[in-house]
């Protein structure tokens, strides 16, 4: 053999050796298709420390860590789960939960008691807690275990959203104090014990998290699939490929690819309720008196301009093209028919006030003093994994606005930058489409429209006053009154450009999945995997 090849043969040998030496033990044994259900997700923050993980990524806890209250898959109502009964005190500062008896923890860590609730809450008090409702949980002054099966939460301020927080839509996962005492955080990281009908089976970093069914669930829940696996697959076309090749049975697919999956015989499972809304937010809407961040030069501080910006958008076409027709119209950002303060009048009046009418839009702009080409604006776009429509909507907006004489420039930033801008009120230059996941409308106002809230999307005195009244109101009629006042106000004032509500849609292989009902409002969007049933024989 020619000497010059020695380096190459050596290289080849080294490469092959490296390969063989580092070949891992193959992943958890591939059971037959019907035994192990594989869900290809867009990815989530991998950690067992639920108090550091935000709501959508609680997908990874849904099968094995339960919450005090359940979200009914069909009606969306909060129903008993680990708590049988719950009620607030008269001033809504204290919430009492009567706990269920006879709930065993996984891995033999004893029975569920009030102490576990106290312990689980204490996780939210840790300094690294960054869960979605961590701020809310830290408003709790004291959690007292009155007895083994009764626990009371005392808040600093009255709160009306405790049921939301304690439900499957919130993030207070109940974990075992006994495990914590015995194994510490290391044991918890390795193998957290919960009370769900699946229990934690293991993780492969960067690849998947797996669960296995238990036989003695306290409610008698028996999932149809013995094993469950969530795969992290960042690339959308890879998820589609996995679904079609049979490696995954359910996949989270963007709308474009759903069409293709359907063509090949797959089926869509939609959540019972819409879970996300998309709205185009307007920067600079700081109408609190004396707010230095308010700049009158921002064109859309003029209501006529805002209305024009709404009427220039062809929502029907946008929905059919970018979103494949899947969505329902939003009349007021954040409001669903079941939300407090919903006004059926909006639907009737929407077309006249917000509907597609480029001629009227041009007229309004002229009235506001902007001839064709005189109004310039920046549209900020960003993508998040699983939400790639932002830039598309931005580009479509650019096209619609060009038609009515508005000049636009699209700037693609990353999400964090945009967020920093609206947090610090420096986003007066721009408008931006954003997809936000459902939260109760009271929370929505607090987060986005309350001047003392974090995000400052559209704020003024009226909203502040009314919100405070709403948050302190106890009687349902009073609450409805305040809620509707705010919502109507937002509707009349064209606070932003509301677009659509979307349900959570996943695609499944009908040969493996026959039925599945889930609300979508659960933290994690795709939830209630124990309800996935194989096709009827």
């Amino acid at each position: 053999m020619r000497p010059k090849y020695f380096p190459f043969m050596l290289g080849l040998l080294v490469a092959l050796a490296l390969t063989l030496v580092t070949t891992p033990t193959p992943g958890l044994a591939q059971a037959t298709k019907t035994d192990r259900l594989v869900f290809a997700s867009a990815g989530f923050s991998e950690s067992n420390r639920f108090w550091t993980v935000s709501r959508p990524d609680h997908l990874q806890y849904d099968p094995f860590l339960e919450t005090l209250l359940e979200v009914d898959p069909k009606s969306g109502e909060y129903t008993p789960r680990l708590a049988e009964k719950w009620y607030p005190s008269a001033d809504f500062k204290e919430w009492t939960f009567i706990l269920r008896k006879g709930v065993p923890f996984h891995f033999g860590f004893g029975q569920f008691t009030a102490r576990d609730v106290v312990h689980s809450h204490s996780m939210m008090m840790r300094p690294e807690a960054t869960a979605t409702l961590a701020g809310f949980w830290r408003q709790v002054e004291e959690v007292k275990a009155v007895n083994d099966h009764q626990v009371v939460f005392r808040f600093k301020q009255p709160t009306t959203v405790m049921d939301y927080g304690a439900s499957r839509a919130g993030d207070l996962r109940i974990v075992s104090k006994a495990q914590w005492d015995k194994e510490g955080i290391d044991g918890f990281d390795k193998r957290p014990a919960g009370t769900g009908s699946y229990r934690y089976a293991g993780r492969q970093s960067g690849l998947s998290v797996s669960f296995e069914r238990i036989d003695n669930h306290w409610r008698g829940e028996k999932p149809a699939f013995r094993q469950l696996e969530f795969r992290l697959v960042r690339e959308e076309s890879t998820r589609l490929a996995m679904l079609l090749s049979g490696e995954a049975h359910i996949a989270d697919l963007p709308r474009e690819l759903q069409k293709d999956a359907l063509k090949r015989g797959m089926k869509i499972y939609s959540s019972s309720f819409p879970v996300d809304w998309m709205t185009i937010y307007l920067g600079g809407m700081y109408f609190m008196p004396g707010d230095p961040a308010f700049k009158a030069e921002v064109p859309w501080t003029n209501k006529k301009v805002r209305q024009a910006m709404n009427m220039a958008v062809n929502r029907k076409e946008l929905l059919n093209t970018v979103f494949a027709g899947k969505g329902t119209y939003t009349y007021v950002t954040g409001w669903l028919p079941q939300s407090e303060g919903w006004n059926p009048e909006w639907q009737r009046r929407f077309d006249g006030m917000y509907g597609y009418n480029p001629a009227k839009a041009k007229e309004l702009l002229k009235e506001a003093g902007y001839g064709p080409g005189q109004l310039k604006m920046k549209i900020l776009a960003f993508t998040e994994p699983g939400e790639s429509e932002g830039p598309q909507v931005a580009e479509a907006l650019g096209i619609y606005y060009k038609d009515v004489g508005i000049e636009t420039e699209i700037e693609v930033l990353d999400w964090a930058k945009v967020r920093e801008m609206f947090r610090k009120k420096t986003i007066g230059c721009c408008i931006w489409p954003n997809i936000i996941s459902w939260r109760p409308s009271e929370e929505s106002i607090r987060t986005f429209n309350y001047s003392k809230g974090p995000n400052h999307h559209y704020e003024n005195e009226f909203i502040d006053k009314t919100y405070l009244a709403w948050a302190q109101a106890i009687k349902p009629e009073e609450r409805q009154r305040h809620a509707r006042a705010i919502a109507d106000h937002l509707f009349e004032e064209f606070a932003d450009i509301p677009l659509f509500w979307f349900a959570n849609e996943v695609v499944a292989n009908p040969k493996v999945v026959g039925d599945w009902v889930y609300p979508g409002l659960g933290a994690g969007r795709s939830t209630h995997f124990h309800l996935v049933k194989p096709p009827a024989k």
Partner: protein, 306 residues
Amino acid sequence: MQRYIARRALQSLLAIWVVTLVVFSLARISGNPLDVMLPLEAGPEEYERVSKYWGLDQPLHTQYFIFLSKAVRGDFGNSWKWHGESAMGLVGQRLPATLQLAGFALAISLVIALPIGVLAAVMKGTGWDTAAKIIALLGQSLPPFWLGIVLMWIFAVHLGWFPTSGRGGIQHMILPAITLGWFQVAVVMRLLRSSMLDVLDSEFVKLTRIKGLAEWKVVWKHCLRNASIAPLTVFAIIAGGLMTGAVVTESVFSWPGTGQLVVDAVRARDFQVVQAVVIVFAGIFIFTNLVVDILYAYLDPRIRYQ
């Protein structure tokens, strides 16, 4: 020789230090990780609290000093996104996957390049030579992510020969390795071809054979020494190319390696992990270069005295 090694080693350390400085600054410029870490509900108190917890409220130079003093001990801090894992621990978890993929890709590129290179050299100047050249260059002309997706669709979905993604056994590695290694085929092929041509032409070798000198002596003492220099450099370059090419390939095939890790970390502004990955990669590269340079100096004395 000792002095040369000492000098080069010192320079390498300096290089690594500069890398830490640059990565640290770049990562910090990229913005506030809290905007990614914290939910929309988080108000100023939450920002303050978490900022303090992660030491982000300190002035930059303090943060750098703390970072450096821990880094020299191999502690790159805890990940901000993968709660509970240390940054170095994560790199340690994922690096074998990337090395494995890179190794396999290298093997595949050698396997493809060997026959093409030999053919091109033996049939020099003919249509075969040009055809071989074009095939090799084709590899360098295709965007790797595009190639990956196309391969996945043809072989994993339509033909069903291989799984589409993930890591498990040899069959999971083939498509990603081809995607990753294809790019290097041209480089390796070119090298093989020129080496082969030199060998075929070598007067020296012919002469020594005529003289009857023991072939192995000739080969070992003379040819191999001279021959090893070029492939060594190329090796280092290829290794570097494979490591960075892995980023894209791992994304497409969901291969749980450091490439996938760093893309996720950058998106999540998890500086700790980004720093760890970049410094480890740079460290490997600088170290490889150091070794190559030392081998050079050993094989070619002239270099030592520059």
